[in-house]
């Protein structure tokens, strides 16, 4: 087996992993900070792709779609938190889970009604059409862009959480919301922002995936399963875990595709099973955490 092929395969894996990271990140942040298992995450990913497509077709530019869709859907996410999920804090973890599960059906059905159940074309932005010659092979420009953009988003997210006052409040809120309230922080606003951020990241994932896949109302269901696998491998609630696990899953799928292509989907679940056997809390998870 030729080395350049393996390198190309690794690169495909990283590009695949980048989308997994961005979607799993939203899921894990919301769980880690709010204790909400968001089953509507996949549907919001799908809504993000439609919103991106809609904004792009209104403005004639993919870039507006990429910028505005995550913000719009993030605000929509805040609305969901404020109207629906907020009422369920402090209750069993199943309650928000069931709520978001139901919500996902409503969202998918809503999109079917508005946009129809057929797939819709989502053109690659003209600047990123085509392949780049890397010397060892050709790689789609758009996928390289996705890797770069995800890296930037991760960096910004990390800096915000670790280096700013807002990040400090968020981290502290996740650890002990009661003390935060005693200290005079309106924890409700923090939760609102966190949920919005998680949903915005799902929407960003959707817009990024749009030009790579066909956009249709069911596109989120598979993504939800993948995002859950990644979060479980990385450890529920762990941001570093989501990043490491997302890339790990992407690269594993890619390398397995090289040797046993029909196993490409199963490898992700096999990886999850192995991790759960050896480290039930996930690679970077905290043992015994129940939110």
């Amino acid at each position: 087996m030729d080395l350049s092929l393996i390198i190309m395969q690794l690169l495909s894996g990283i590009a695949l992993g980048a989308v997994l990271v961005i979607t799993a990140l939203g899921l894990t942040i919301v769980f880690g900070m709010l204790g909400v298992v968001n089953f509507a995450h996949g549907a919001l990913f799908m809504i993000g792709a439609y919103a991106g497509l809609y904004v792009a077709s209104l403005t004639g530019s993919f870039w507006w779609g990429l910028l505005l869709a995550p913000i719009l859907i993030g605000v929509f996410g805040m609305l969901i938190e404020f109207v629906l999920i907020r009422r369920l804090y402090g209750r069993s973890i199943d309650d928000p889970l069931l709520l978001t599960f139901g919500l996902s059906y409503i969202l998918v059905e809503g999109v079917r009604i508005v946009f129809g159940s057929d797939g819709i074309p989502f053109p690659t932005p003209p600047q990123l059409v085509g392949v780049l010659d890397l010397g060892i092979g050709f790689f789609p420009r758009y996928r390289l862009f996705v890797i770069a953009l995800v890296a930037v988003v991760l960096l910004v997210l990390w800096l915000t959480l670790e280096k700013t006052r807002i990040g400090l409040i968020v981290r502290a809120g996740a650890r002990d919301p009661v003390i935060m309230q005693v200290l005079g922080v309106d924890i409700g606003r923090v939760w609102l922002a966190i949920f919005g951020l998680g949903v915005g990241l799902a929407a960003l994932g959707g817009v990024l995936a749009g030009p790579m896949r066909s956009v249709n109302p069911e596109m989120g269901s598979l993504v939800l399963a993948e995002a859950f696998v990644v979060t479980v491998i990385g450890g529920l609630g762990s941001i570093v875990g989501a990043v490491v696990a997302g890339l790990m899953v992407g690269v594993s799928i890619s390398l397995v595709a090289l040797f046993a292509p029909e196993m490409a989907t199963i490898v992700m679940f096999a990886l999850m099973a192995v991790v759960l056997l050896i480290r039930p809390q996930g690679l970077f998870g905290v043992r015994g955490r129940t939110a």
Binding site: S12, V131, P140, M212, E218, A264
Partner: protein, 413 residues
């Protein structure tokens, strides 16, 4: 119907039922009389799930076939009714719905199903109960002797027909061919068909990659496919898998190096990813509306569909719904009713031309012998209208030679 009955008591419910029945009789005197003898056709199809777009077209066209017969006074004065059921692309669901259609709704025949597994399930139920089933799924496992019965008919094309027609147009002696194949019955059947055709032509197989059914990402298969350096890449999968696989292959620059070929090129998937992605892709089809310029039947079918659907055009899978129901109704017309053995006999002798030229069912396996189209997706600048998707590369008229022989399928000859 029970023959003897005690004197009926007039309850509010029966009175209401009677009232509405007589109202209906006043409104449609001719049809009302025959209400009990309505001919009912069951139609299971995956209205939800990834093949929903194709399924909806099937229903519209099947309804059209029924409407045209009813407009002409039905069959022997009996009205025809289509009972559509959602099989959810699930074999268990399909079996349950089919059983209900037979036991509860007392259908006279079943037409439908899209996926290979669902088709097998429906066939299992209809065969056991001696009910005629006309399949419109492009997999032909039910034509093989082990699943076949005299009640089983296959209206759709089969993998062998489409792959050999496509291969004839795209492969040449000495060409290198690689395959990307969905890892389930449909993909395996198409791969088998292509390999047989390429062996006959003398093209070389340079590799096969099986991908999981319903995968969203195909990027991980692309570097290896490119490294095989084929002249032609055959992508054998269905529905959204086709759209995603072609889209991502194009992203990786596959089209600069090789030609993309598919066994069945799907109207709705071409719409779902746009002209630039599909440009130059060649594939087989049972029907394409553009046939109307060279075929009178197609022109009539298009016109009837347009009239019934606000100017829309019928698609490939839609045409299956039309010809599947249409051929059955034509046979019932000949048989003068719904008596199963007579209808089977009439179907076996039927020569029909509903959408694209003459068709008939081969005696041994009840496969519909029909023409196969080979289409090439047009580039955007060459499209005259939004519906002008494909150029017709070939229109092979139907013959027994296109099919695997009866003995190969295990039938006594």
């Amino acid at each position: 119907m029970p023959k003897s009955r005690s004197t009926p008591k007039l309850t509010r419910r029966t009175a209401l039922a009677g009232l509405s029945a007589s109202a209906a009789m006043l409104a449609m005197p001719r049809l009302g009389r025959a209400a009990d003898e309505t001919i009912r056709i069951g139609f299971p199809t995956p209205l939800t799930g990834p093949f929903a777009a194709e399924a909806r077209d099937q229903v519209k066209c099947a309804e059209l076939a029924v409407k045209l017969v009813n407009d002409k006074g039905g069959i022997g004065g009996r009205k025809v009714e289509l009972l559509v059921r959602d099989d959810k692309l699930n074999a268990g669901e399909a079996a349950t719905r089919t059983l209900e259609l037979i036991e509860k709704d007392k259908v006279h025949a079943v037409v439908g199903a899209l996926s290979s597994a669902v088709q097998l399930a429906v066939n299992e139920v209809t065969r056991a109960r001696g009910v005629i089933y006309v399949s419109i799924s492009q997999s032909d496992t039910i034509n093989e002797a082990k699943d076949f019965s005299k009640y089983t008919f296959h209206e759709a094309l089969n993998p062998h027909m489409t792959t050999s027609a496509v291969a004839r147009q795209t492969l040449k002696k000495g060409m290198k061919v690689a395959h990307l194949v969905a890892d389930y019955a449909y993909g395996h059947e198409m791969l088998r068909g292509f390999k047989r055709a390429q062996a006959a032509i003398g093209a070389d197989n340079v590799g096969e990659i099986l991908h999981p059914f319903g995968a969203a990402d195909y990027s991980t298969f692309m570097p290896r496919l490119m490294s095989m350096r084929p002249d032609v890449l055959c992508i054998s999968n269905f529905g959204r898998d086709q759209a995603n696989a072609i889209k991502q292959a194009v992203d990786f620059g596959v089209k600069q190096q090789m030609k993309i070929v598919v066994p069945v090129i799907l109207h709705n998937q071409r719409l779902a990813v746009g002209p630039d992605v599909f440009e130059g892709v060649v594939g087989g089809a049972n029907y394409y509306w553009g046939l109307e310029t060279q075929n009178k039947t197609a022109a009539d079918f298009n016109a009837a569909f347009k009239a019934a659907n606000g100017g829309a055009i019928p698609t490939d899978y839609g045409a299956y719904g039309y010809s599947g129901v249409g051929s059955l109704l034509a046979a019932m017309q000949t048989a003068g009713g719904t008596e199963t053995d007579k209808v089977v006999d009439a179907l076996e002798k039927l020569q029909y031309d509903l959408t694209k030229g003459p068709q008939h069912f081969r005696k041994c396996d009840h496969q519909s012998v029909q023409s196969v189209l080979v289409l090439e997706s047009k580039k955007k600048s060459a499209m005259a209208t939004d519906n002008d998707l494909f150029a017709i590369v070939a229109n092979d008229s139907g013959s027994d030679e296109m099919l695997r022989s009866c003995s190969e399928l295990g039938h006594a000859t």
